[in-house]
């Protein structure tokens, strides 16, 4: 019942936008919901605000013409923390990448201690993908509505996100959030100097259940480097909401 009403409300909103848009009299911004709320909703579709989420990623990277060996990872994430466990290639099985707060560590079977990953090392490679895939923009960024712009024909709200503090890797993000689905479909990541560094595209084919609700969840992420010809594609599968114990993110227990 409520769902039908909810859907009706959206249909009515879209209809009014369509009607008024035809006459060019609509100010899209006046109909947009609050930017921070939008952001939080979109975060949910990528794991934010949930007690814990587990999923698998199939990752393929291309650097110029060279295609790298595909990887399969098992990710467990809660809010600010995530741990990525390598499943394939088999010889790297057991390698883990841990993110807690804005710190990152790598560990491998056979290493006596985890290796801290410095910000410089996150400029490229798997560590940089980890930065992009981070779930929680609402905690790190202030959002301001800028515009509306369609992405692949889908109308989106464009938000300008600015980093709340100076330790966040990307100082600014331009984020396209689908008006209908309230999920982020495209993001552009900018440096302190305002230069475009990476572009990411998101698809939400998965569905998860939480507190009785069915929430769309990211199924594919494509990250393209703006400075060199390189691209990474991640496919998300086997997504489950699951409470994850804090011990999973304990550096000391990482091995």
């Amino acid at each position: 019942m409520r769902w039908v009403m909810f859907e009706g409300a959206i249909m009515r909103r879209l209809f009014s936008v369509f009607i008024f848009g035809m006459f060019g009299l609509v100010n899209p911004l006046s109909a947009a919901p609050d930017a921070m709320t939008l952001l939080r909703h979109s975060d949910q579709a990528r794991g934010g605000g949930l007690p814990g989420i587990v999923w698998e990623i199939k990752l393929v990277s291309r650097d110029g013409t060279k295609v790298e060996e595909p990887q399969r990872l098992l990710i467990k994430a809660v809010d600010e923390s995530s741990v990525a466990d390598t499943l394939e290639p088999v010889r790297f099985k057991g390698s883990k990448l841990l993110q807690v707060d804005h710190n990152m560590w790598l560990t491998r079977p056979g290493l006596s201690k985890p290796i801290p990953i410095s910000p410089r090392q996150r400029l490229s490679g798997q560590a940089s993908n980890g930065d992009i895939a981070a779930t929680n923009y609402a905690a790190d960024y202030d959002a301001v509505s800028a515009d509306t712009e369609p992405v692949d024909g889908e109308p989106c709200y464009v938000l300008n996100l600015t980093a709340k503090q100076k330790r966040v890797t990307y100082d600014r993000i331009r984020y396209w959030i689908s008006a209908r689905r309230e999920v982020g479909v495209k993001a552009e990541f900018y440096s302190v100097s305002g230069k475009l560094l990476k572009t990411a595209r998101f698809e939400y084919g998965n569905v998860i259940e939480h507190e009785g609700k069915r929430i769309p969840f990211v199924s594919k992420m494509t990250i393209r480097d703006a400075l060199i010809d390189a691209e990474t594609t991640m496919e998300f599968g086997m997504v489950k909401v699951k409470k994850i114990a804090p011990a999973e993110f304990d550096l000391g227990q990482l091995q």
Partner: protein, 425 residues
Amino acid sequence: MKNISMKNTFTLALRGLSRNRRRSMVTLLAIAFGYSAIVLFAGYTHNVYGGLARQSIYGEMLGHLTLSKRGMRKEGKLDPERYMLTSTEVASITKLLKDEKHIELLAPRLGLSGLISNGRASTIFIADGIEPKAVVDLRQGGLTDQERKSGMYENMKMRLDPEHSEVVSLSEGLVEMLHLSVGGQAVVLANTLTGQANALDITLGRSFNTGNAGSNDKFAFVSLALARSLLDAEGRADRLTILLDDVNRTETMRAHLQEKLRAAGFDVEIQNWQDLSDFYNQVHGMFDMIFGFIFSIVLTVVIMSVANSMGMTVVERTREIGTLRAIGLKRGGVIKLFTTESMLLTLIGCITGLLIALVVRWGINIAHISYTPPNSASAVPLLIDLDARRAMFTFVLMGVVGTLAAYMPARRAAKKDIIDALGHV
């Protein structure tokens, strides 16, 4: 006790040298050539050191002194943010040292590293950020007047553009790897001091050769403004390069500035260019070792020549020695006589050697020979200075050694019984 006077000993010793003219001459020439070899080599190394000093101070842009926050050298590599001079500190120190009359230039420097990309591929780079004007000021100090007039000044490859902070100088290896040409564009990617990703467009101004294969594919010079922007470090520096008006003032100025700054509350350390120039220290060390080697060889030859010569002389003049002893010369007098002879021989030999060295030096300096030393991209002139300190030291040492070399043979002669000496055939 009556003793033969010094003057008489001298006169007799001098005459004694003409006893066997040929032998005296040969020994004298051995001493002369040995001494002149030392003086010439010392003069050459002196010149080289001077050139290297200029190369380190001006060419490598180390300046005379480098000022940094204490701890920067060691811990600063891992935690640069903490050990960098803040913009307030840079400004205050600059102001405090403005009136120092021996400081010609105070240049803030900022080092960084990151990735450089031509749009298709990227590679790591290490850069030094410096004001374009400071580059000119530093490098031109190393040119001789002749070079300055010749237009070499215009050609100094490391010039950055004061009008365009995005113009950079890249090492040749880097340029090659990225397939850039002058005017070509690229992007540099680095982290700010707080760890944020940052990138800026750059344009290739000039390329240069670091002279070292290991760094020639990584190194870059960028404008201070670019470095500061990339690191998001407004007004900051990791060190200040100080150029003085006279290289000989380096140590005194270091102590003076250290004290002055500490008194003003700045926790800084100042190093001089010698501490920082590995190349200078290595070459200096190597040449010192070679000098020591040559010196030892020459000294050994001198000792052996003199000892041999005096040994033979003493044997030949055994009867004469017996006669002198009979007519009243004491044993000590005999020793004095012969050691004086050999001292005079050595002294005259050294003076001759000095003259030879001066003539050879004049000849070489006039000849305008040049050669390309290792690790250098261009030829340098072969010049020989006069290292008065070393020449004097060697002179004195050789005099002492030459005198002592005669001691043993003379003593043997003095100890001989008079009747045996007189009976010597």
